[in-house]
Amino acid sequence: MKKILVLGATSGVAQAFCRAALRRGYTPVLAARSLERVQLVARDLEIRAGQTGIACVEFDAAAFDTHDGFVRAALARGPFAGCFVACGAMHEQSLAEADWKLSREMIDANFTGIVSVLNRLAPLLAAAEGGAFISCITSVAGDRGRSSNFIYGATKAGLNAYLEGLRARWHARGLFVQTIKLGPVDTPMNAGVARTPFMVSADVAAEKILRALEARREVAYVPGRWAVIMLVIRLLPRFVFKRMKL
């Protein structure tokens, strides 16, 4: 039974990822901040998949000093084929600008916390037989600092650079590191945001993520159309970009 450790397992994308992974014969081990909520998710996944024994571990990305203990507790539930990282937070730019707590929350959940936990996990996963993977969700918002969303974008840009380095660091040891640049997905994270034209459902996103994982694509835009859109946006010269309301 191939197991995947899922960080941020109560997120909409993570739940859809777990459903799709279960259909492919993987068993997820769920890690999230609220044990009560993640146990609800585990029960739901068990009923949908018609199996039992989906384990849960408490994990708070922002509680860095608990991460040693978390990694020990999680790995005791292994061995793992890999780790899927879906934790993250998003607050509206104007609110985050005005309230450092909200900025800090995004930085910790999207960047610092993930660096802290992957620093500890990567060597252990790299030691696993048969080549484990780390697949981590970042965002198209990390490709450029847009005025409407750049604090969130900056956390994701930092994460992109970290993952690129992590890949280079461990690639010789057989650890596969994947960067998933996700476009907007219809999940509770976007509940305060009106549906955008390119928004996809979490199930569609999860299916594409698993396909990218199976195809061993190091960097994947999900859905793929974002590769084209972001190429154009990255090519915009700065003097144009800074005047655009993006």
Partner: protein, 456 residues
């Protein structure tokens, strides 16, 4: 990890029911935790829950300045007892998701509506009926228990506990509070197939007689009527009856995997579809083709349960075929004694007005156990009318009068235009139901455009 602060943000959306009429700008919240109760949404005069937005009219639209509470993220299965066939889920889980879970284990929905894309909460609030209503009753017969958040707090109710709230909430259109979870008693099946019989009938009387005859041997029965046929073909249709196929009915590949769930992603209707394409001529063509879909007078077929129960689910967004102005679904119940005369009068009035319904369905119904019941021992007629102009509505008002005169009722989950006084005359049970609602909700915080329009 999703932050709770994001979950209670409300946004303003232009919403409508499945008929795309009426449309209303509503504040909309999408709470993540089922524990969130109505007090978290302060500042709005009224609240109404909304699941998949599949009621046709305004049952899931909030009154002006009020809040729609979407249940779409409360989509967790909570328990499934495969021995007893008991399933507990949060209100936002859809029947389609339930089917995906239960069919491979040999269980089925005890009552199945015409689409799998409805939420459990919506199913209860509308007390949905299916092709087996005459024998099995509506979904209320199979609800073991439910939890509802009222103004006075959350209540677990069942036949044994807070029974009055239970029977006012099922078929209560969300007006007793927000249904957060429910337990259904499922029914056992041997296969995912339906052993179906199709019989062509020349007129309404024959349709009714044939239907009554077939319901002795068949669990499910329904009559499709060609509402556009005129002259000697007036009232022609096809009686369709079916049973869940037994294992012994299957052969070959189907028998090897009798419970295989065969759902394939549907085709999607174009986002913008000109309403004029669905006119009387194309309508007639469709109905003609449907009337002649098999040679001879009778056919027996083994069909999958998906096309049998959910033929329209194959096209996602089929409601858009009616164009931007939308359509009105008209469903009435008529008592046994007057159904033949009433049904005939309705069809004649519709024909005289030059209206055509794309899909007209006539079916037997039985008693209804809820406090505000729609069904009665008799028949129900369901039709859809594309809105091409204002001239439709006076005709529908006349249909209401015919229904009322024959002791019938209009189904509120499909309604978008009934008048309050007609409604009151049709539903003498209203005061009793309202007394229960007010007992648990003295301030009547849970209201919709439907409840305000009909002064429910």
């Amino acid at each position: 990890m999703t932050l709770s602060t994001a979950s209670n943000n409300s946004k303003t959306l232009l919403l409508s029911g499945w008929g795309n009429y009426p449309q209303a700008s509503c504040h909309c919240a999408e709470p993540v935790d089922a524990a969130a109760d109505w007090r978290d949404f302060g500042g709005f005069p009224h609240l109404i829950a909304r699941g998949m937005g599949r009621s046709y009219g305004d049952a899931s639209l909030a009154p002006v300045g009020s809040l729609v509470v979407a249940t779409r993220w409360q989509n967790k299965f909570l328990a499934f007892d495969r021995e007893q066939g008991l399933l507990t889920a949060q209100a936002g889980v859809t029947l389609g998701e339930i089917i995906d879970v239960i069919v491979p284990t040999g269980w089925f929905l005890p009552v199945t509506p015409g689409t799998r894309l409805v939420s459990l909460g919506g199913v209860l609030a509308s007390n949905i009926h299916g092709k087996n209503h005459h024998a099995a009753g509506a979904i209320v017969q199979f609800v073991e228990s439910l939890r509802v958040q009222t103004e006075s707090g959350g209540f677990d109710c069942s036949r044994a506990q807070h029974a009055e709230l239970f029977f006012a909430t099922v078929g209560g259109y969300g007006l007793t509070g927000i249904i957060t979870q429910a337990t259904l008693r499922l029914k056992k099946i041997e296969t995912a197939w339906i052993d179906a019989r199709f019989v062509k009938v020349p007129d309404l009387d024959t349709a009714m007689a044939t239907s009554l005859e077939l319901e002795k041997q068949f669990e499910y029965s329904v009559v499709w009527i060609d509402s556009l046929a005129r002259g000697k073909n007036f009232g022609r249709g096809i009686v369709m009856a079916g049973n869940h196929a037994k294992l012994s009915d299957l052969a070959g590949r189907a028998a090897a995997q009798p419970l295989r769930n065969d759902w394939s992603p549907p085709v999607t209707a174009p986002a913008k579809f000109p309403g004029w394409i669905l006119n009387n001529a194309t309508n007639r063509l469709f109905n003609f083709a449907y009337a002649h879909r098999f040679p001879g007078r009778e056919a027996r077929q083994l069909v999958r349960f998906e096309p049998w129960f959910f033929p329209l689910d194959r096209v996602a967004g089929w409601n858009r075929f009616y164009g931007g102005r939308g359509f009105v679904e008209y469903q009435c119940a008529l008592p046994l004694a007057t159904a033949a005369a009433g049904g005939r009068e309705l069809l004649e009035r519709i024909a005289r007005a030059g209206l055509g319904s794309f899909l007209s369905v006539f079916k037997r119904i039985g008693d209804d156990a809820v406090t505000l019941p729609f069904a009665m021992p008799g028949w129900t007629l369901a039709m859809d009318f594309g809105i091409r102009g204002p001239e439709l509505f006076p005709v529908l008002d006349e249909l209401d009068k015919i229904v009322l005169r024959h002791g019938g009722k209009i189904y509120l989950s499909k309604d978008a235009r009934l008048k309050a006084d007609t409604f009151r005359a049709m539903y003498p049970e209203l005061p009793r139901w309202r007394a229960v609602v007010e007992k648990f909700n003295p301030a009547r915080r849970f209201q919709s455009r439907l409840s305000q329009r009909l002064q429910l």
